[in-house]
């Protein structure tokens, strides 16, 4: 089966500023692919290049097996949903949804004021279009809103109308540029649900740009993370969370963010945290500084003051419903903060101001070299905090 979307070596610069370099990406039909990354990483530019609104400097875009580089956005058979919904302000919701079909099916003369009344087939086509609008409106439950103008709709309603306008063309590709970021938090969670549901019902391919890693994690089948105009990693949400390819990915995915501790490799390839061996070994690793990444839920605190553990002082404890987040300062240098997630029922044991030992299972730790790339590790029996 051919790919729904293929990008080959896409590069783009605005003036002298490089925005994207050599992006390769292949998307299967029916995928929900999120493009994530910090602001300015080029994800929106990439979406615009796919849509045809922006032209790449080098590389190829193929949609449904067809090279579309020379085609206008319209001819690419895509639909796009924008952050600000981008509804036509003086047209009713129904007219907004109808416009792409009108352009597809009526000639320019049949769309001109006055002259359009000369066309014998216009009435028939318009009736068919309004039937299709009805179906889409029913699917999105916006039938009562069709006569209203965008100014009379709430944010969530506008978003639905924008989705309806995208759906009505039955495009081969849906492009979404941060469609939820203008909604309030509660509505955003709800629309996340609806979008996932819509994706499942339509079976269409979605390309979804967001800077919100939670949206990407909860909705996507795969995530492509961009960093500085390059593809940092592409994989399932679990891949990115459990095996981040770089320190940037590790820091971006997951909330609260991953803890990063400075460590070093000794000449034998053992990872040393402070003065203590961690039980992690890098086969044929070069001695030097490395970064140790630990997810908040993978750190265990030990009340017993064992000299073979790094120590940290509890500064603050936050209630997060089922969980509690403990903010600690690492004892040897107070610069490094540490966040630990523990289940609510274990909180009684920990008091602010007290000092605790830090333990973790080495197989859960992530190791990154000085340039921030993931290092392959294996574990050896000697490990921090293994006693408890």
């Amino acid at each position: 089966m051919e790919h729904s979307l293929e990008l080959a070596q896409i590069s783009k610069a605005f003036g002298k500023t490089g925005v994207l370099s050599e992006i390769d990406l292949a998307v299967q039909p029916g995928e929900f692919l999120s493009l994530v990354g910090p602001s300015g990483c080029g994800k929106s530019t990439l979406l615009r290049i796919i849509s045809g609104l922006e032209r790449q400097d080098a590389g190829q875009v193929r949609i449904a097996g067809r090279t579309v580089d020379a085609l206008s956005p319209r001819a690419r058979n895509i639909a796009m949903v924008f952050q600000n919904y981008a509804l036509y302000p003086h047209m009713s919701a129904a007219e907004n949804i109808a416009l792409p079909l009108m352009v597809d099916r009526l000639s320019l003369f049949e769309r001109l004021p006055l002259i359009r009344h000369l066309s014998p087939r216009r009435k028939r086509i318009e009736a068919a279009i309004s039937g299709e609008i009805g179906k889409v409106a029913e699917a999105l439950q916006i039938e009562p809103l069709l006569a209203r103008k965008p100014g009379q709709l709430s944010g969530g309603q506008r978003q639905r109308v924008a989705l309806a306008r995208a759906m009505v063309r039955q495009p081969s590709l849906f492009l979404m540029d941060e469609p939820l970021s203008n909604l309030d938090a509660q509505l955003r969670v709800h629309m996340r649900d609806e979008l996932t549901d819509l994706h499942r019902r339509l079976g269409a391919t979605f390309i979804y740009v967001t800077h919100d890693q939670i949206e990407a994690m909860t909705m996507s089948t795969r995530i492509a993370m961009l960093d500085g105009g390059r593809l940092a990693q592409i994989g399932s949400p679990a891949d990115l969370y459990e095996r981040p390819a770089s320190l940037t990915v590790a820091r971006f995915i997951g909330s609260p963010a991953i803890n990063v501790l400075p460590a070093r490799l000794d000449p034998q390839g053992h990872v040393i945290l402070g003065t203590l061996p961690t039980g992690l070994v890098v086969p044929d690793g070069m001695a030097g500084p490395v970064s140790l990444g630990l997810r908040p839920e993978h750190i265990r605190l030990h009340a017993a003051c064992d000299r073979a553990m790094p120590m940290a002082t509890l500064r603050r404890s936050e209630h997060h419903g089922a969980d509690r987040l403990l903010h600690l300062d690492l004892a040897e240098d107070r610069q490094t903060g540490l966040i630990v997630r523990i289940p609510q029922d274990e909180t009684g044991q920990f008091q602010p101001g007290e000092t605790y030992g830090i333990g973790f299972a080495p197989e859960k730790a992530h190791l990154f070299d000085a340039s921030g790339l993931r290092m392959a590790t294996r574990t050896v029996p000697a490990r921090i905090g293994a006693a408890a």
Partner: protein
């Protein structure tokens, strides 16, 4: 304590009265010529110069003055000319300025900055500067004494380009991009999406344009010799010279008749006009 924080009603009243006094003086200066025109138009000829400042005429002479004005001068002809000239100028100004302003505001092309600078520069040039060359060219082609001669210098309005460019700039790019994805061409985007939302600015400019060209005397006086082409102000001038002499009552009745359409247009479009000006101010 409370009095300090909440000004006394009398204080507020005074400020209110003061502000309105200033406004009233301003309004009086603006309106007095018009009121005097109206009063003169309804007075008997002997009373106009002897009546002093008494606002109430002793004998109403309105019917005589107005019917004399309508009979002696081809006022209707002047007004039809005015409509043809103002309408022609406005339509071409809009057809030229709207696409130009859209391109300057929203399209990326080499030389855009230079073109916009030229527009700004054009704002600084009054009609008197190109008047002579345009006159010579029209004379060369034998086009003097025509509607075209009266309209041609104003077809390209840099003020309109500037005003619309400022308005269009505030229009969200995402909507234009959505329209491009939906398959609209740039001209269709312009008239289907951008122009309808810029109507207040277009209405505001239209009023500026109509008022300016309805009242214009300078340019018609240069290119028009024949009375059948005269717009209202030039027509009044011909009329005052030839027929009425010193019959001010009839003259003012004529002036009242040719001013009335403008007042009506402004009253009808007042809200849009103010909206358009304030909107362009913000953006």
């Amino acid at each position: 304590m409370k009095a300090a924080r909440f000004p006394l009603p009398t204080g507020r009243l005074l400020r209110f009265a003061g502000a309105h006094a200033v406004l009233l003086v301003g309004a009086a200066f603006m309106l007095l010529p018009f009121i005097w025109m109206l009063l003169t138009a309804i007075r008997a000829p002997d009373e106009i110069l002897t009546g002093g400042l008494n606002p109430i005429p002793r004998s109403f002479h309105a019917v005589e003055n107005f019917s004399a004005a309508l009979q002696q001068a081809p006022l209707l002809r002047f007004m039809v000319n005015g409509v043809i000239i103002c309408g022609g100028i406005l339509i071409i100004q809009l057809i030229v300025a709207i696409p130009a302003a859209y391109a300057l505001a929203k399209l990326r092309f080499p030389g855009r900055g230079l073109l916009f600078a030229a527009v700004i520069g054009g704002l600084c040039i009054p009609i008197q500067v190109p008047a002579l060359p345009i006159y010579l060219a029209l004379a060369e082609f034998g086009l003097l004494d025509s509607y075209f001669a009266m309209m041609v210098p104003f077809f390209l309005s840099v003020f309109a380009i500037f005003l619309f460019r400022q308005t269009f700039r505030g229009f969200p790019d995402e909507i234009l991009q959505a329209a491009r994805v939906d398959g609209l061409g740039e001209f269709e985007i312009l008239w289907r999406i951008v122009v309808p939302s810029a109507l207040p600015a277009i209405a505001a400019f239209s009023i500026f344009s109509i008022v300016a060209h309805w009242n214009d005397l300078y340019w018609p006086m240069i290119v028009i010799q024949r009375m059948d082409y005269a717009p209202p102000p030039l027509g009044m001038l011909f009329f005052a010279n030839s027929e009425t002499g010193a019959s001010y009552g009839v003259l003012m009745a004529g002036a009242t008749i040719i001013t009335a359409p403008l007042v009506l247009v402004f009253l009808l479009a007042r809200r849009r006009f103010v909206q358009g000006i304030t909107m362009t101010g913000i953006k």
